[in-house]
């Protein structure tokens, strides 16, 4: 039996029953990393030595509850006490946070075993984990194809069996899009549901932390630990967190599902549309009422996102000035030159361009034309969702317009088109394996009203159990 391939819930059960040891589970993952990491390149930093120590401690105490003893990975924009956190940027090479992000700290307290930090686009800016200053990450289903981004490392590592699950982030769709391309489950919870404390901020009005897992049950287990109020994030929601396992049932009788026609237009590959339509038929078989609906302002989401995200990023990135942490130009004679050179040399082109664009749209002369207008249209996009959720419990659509494409065939505009609207509206959304096209996974996107993570999990679980896409794994052994 290949231990690395167990689900989180199965491994947790076996650890509890003393059928396996945390050290054996870790060893299986560690061997798997040895075998496939040079092909996938999902990690920026490995922490296997610390992980071994922790696994041994856990075995000695034999305290296994929840996710205790299970190896996982963390996207490299979440701060980890004593472990470098680079955001895949030269700017933060060697930065060692003096604290844990809240989500990381909660998993640590539950006995989870971190095996490393995962690759991403530089500061989350990019689409295919290609702007990482270290290396791109390859898609486990086809190494010549992109893994998505900015959470490409997280999704690829989970799909390849290098970790059991990962913590990642989602601003415009990062973890959902990467999960779709890599055939795994990615959940962006409601804005404010998971604390962003210790998540390096990019676009604060949209940034959210979420799990990437191999199945829906595991997603519920991780959510149980990371959701909930945190006084260290002023946007944190005080709403009570249910036990999400309670939503994992297969009877969808009476559930009202809408599919937004704007997500099925011609720019979406026909094969992807077909796969998602098949999934909708499955939902009817499961007892749901499925109807076409509309989100008429969807086509404005991409320009709105670009303007708002660059504006927010330009402000957030001001903290990188070569003084308190990060890259610093040592030659400069005065402070302005030091800051300019540090930022000019520390940031990659995508980040620099975004900061400049944000500086432009926030300038006094351009503010009304771009920033203010984008915030107004953001309201229209959110109201589209509000209206849809008066009638439907959730919306189902493709996560991405295409399956993962070959590296080099860039189509940046299409990659996040279908994930951005939910980000702008602040609602929960997830991607689950929803079909296969030519041996590559198709992501099925579920979007629900605020705090409806449970409804999403229920619909996701019912589909997963009725299909078998989550059981398929990429073949990496040669």
């Amino acid at each position: 039996m290949n231990l690395y391939h167990l689900t989180v819930h199965k491994a947790a059960e076996m650890l509890n029953r003393r059928e396996i040891k945390a050290q054996e589970v870790l060893e299986a993952v560690s061997r798997r990393i040895d075998l496939v990491e040079n092909k996938i390149k999902a990690f920026i930093t490995l922490t296997l030595d610390q992980a071994e120590k922790k696994a041994k401690e856990l075995d000695d105490r034999h305290e296994f509850t929840g996710l205790g003893g299970i190896p996982y990975g963390v996207q490299d924009n979440l701060c980890t006490l004593g472990v470098t956190t680079t955001c895949a940027s030269k700017m933060l090479e060697g930065f060692i946070p003096p604290y844990d992000a809240t989500a990381v700290g909660r998993l640590k307290a539950a006995g989870a075993v971190m095996v490393g930090k995962l690759n991403m686009d530089e500061f989350g800016m990019g689409h295919f984990t290609e702007t990482s200053c270290f290396h791109p990450t390859n898609n486990p289903w086809d190494l010549t194809r992109v893994a998505g981004g900015s959470s490409g490392g997280a999704a690829a590592a989970v799909a390849a069996g290098e970790v059991y699950y990962a913590l990642a982030s989602d601003t415009g769709g990062s973890l959902r899009q990467s999960a779709a391309y890599c055939g795994v489950v990615g959940m962006r919870p409601t804005y404010g549901r998971v604390s962003r404390y210790g998540l390096v901020a990019v676009a604060s009005s949209m940034d959210q932390v979420g799990p990437v897992t191999r199945n829906v049950t595991d997603c519920a287990l991780v959510l149980n630990l990371i959701c909930g109020y945190d006084g260290l994030d002023s946007n944190s929601l005080e709403a009570e967190v249910p036990d999400y396992r309670g939503y994992l049932e297969t009877n969808l009788k009476g559930m009202r599902i809408g599919f937004p026609r704007e997500y099925f237009e011609n720019y979406v590959d026909e094969s992807v549309r077909d796969a998602v339509k098949k999934a909708l038929l499955k939902y009817e078989e499961l007892g749901a009422v499925v109807e076409e609906t509309g989100l008429p302002h969807s086509k404005y989401a991409l320009p709105v996102f670009r303007l708002l995200a660059s504006a927010e990023a330009s402000s957030n990135m001001a903290r990188f000035d070569g003084v308190r942490y990060g890259y610093r130009d040592e030659e400069a004679q005065d402070i302005a030159e030091m800051m300019s050179n540090s930022r000019g040399r520390g940031f990659g082109p995508e980040v620099k361009r975004n900061i400049l664009l944000g500086t432009y749209v926030l300038s006094k002369e351009q503010y009304d034309t771009y920033y203010l207008r984008a915030m107004k249209v953001r309201r229209l996009i959110k109201e589209d969702f509000d209206r849809a959720f008066e009638k439907y419990d959730l919306l189902v659509a493709p996560t991405t317009a295409t399956v993962a494409f070959p590296r080099g065939e860039r189509n940046e505009d299409l990659s996040d088109l279908l994930t951005i609207p939910a980000s702008l509206a602040g609602i929960p959304a997830m991607s689950i394996p929803g079909g296969m096209v030519d041996g590559l996974p198709v992501g099925l996107q579920l979007m629900g009203p605020r705090l409806a993570e449970g409804t999403l999990l229920k619909a996701a679980y019912a589909f997963e159990q009725a299909a078998d896409y989550h059981l398929r794994t990429p073949v990496l052994e040669v």
Partner: protein
């Protein structure tokens, strides 16, 4: 909306980012194209629409005015590229 290299240079001073000549050229082109694609927003009449500044309904989050533990001085300075005594060190300001 076409941005010139001069525009990009002005922005780079405001944002404190030194750029090479090639970067100025490339960014002027790329940013112009992004701003052009935002022209689609002009189709909408937005005069009467309130901007959505914040997706949650809460505001002014306060905490009790109590002293809490904070990072020790050496921890706060641990990542500083240059420090002296208990302070961050920067080039001459005046």
């Amino acid at each position: 909306m076409a941005l010139t290299e001069k525009d990009v240079e002005r922005l780079s001073v405001l944002a404190r980012i030194s750029l090479t000549e090639e970067e100025k050229k490339a960014f002027a082109r790329q940013m112009s194209s992004i701003l052009d694609s935002a022209a689609v927003l002009d189709e909408l009449s937005t005069d009467r629409i309130e901007p959505l500044i914040y997706v949650l309904s809460k505001y002014n989050v306060m905490r009790d005015d109590k002293v809490r533990p904070s990072l020790a001085n050496d921890e706060a300075l641990a990542n500083a590229p240059l420090k002296e005594d208990a302070m961050f060190k920067v080039p001459r300001l005046i």
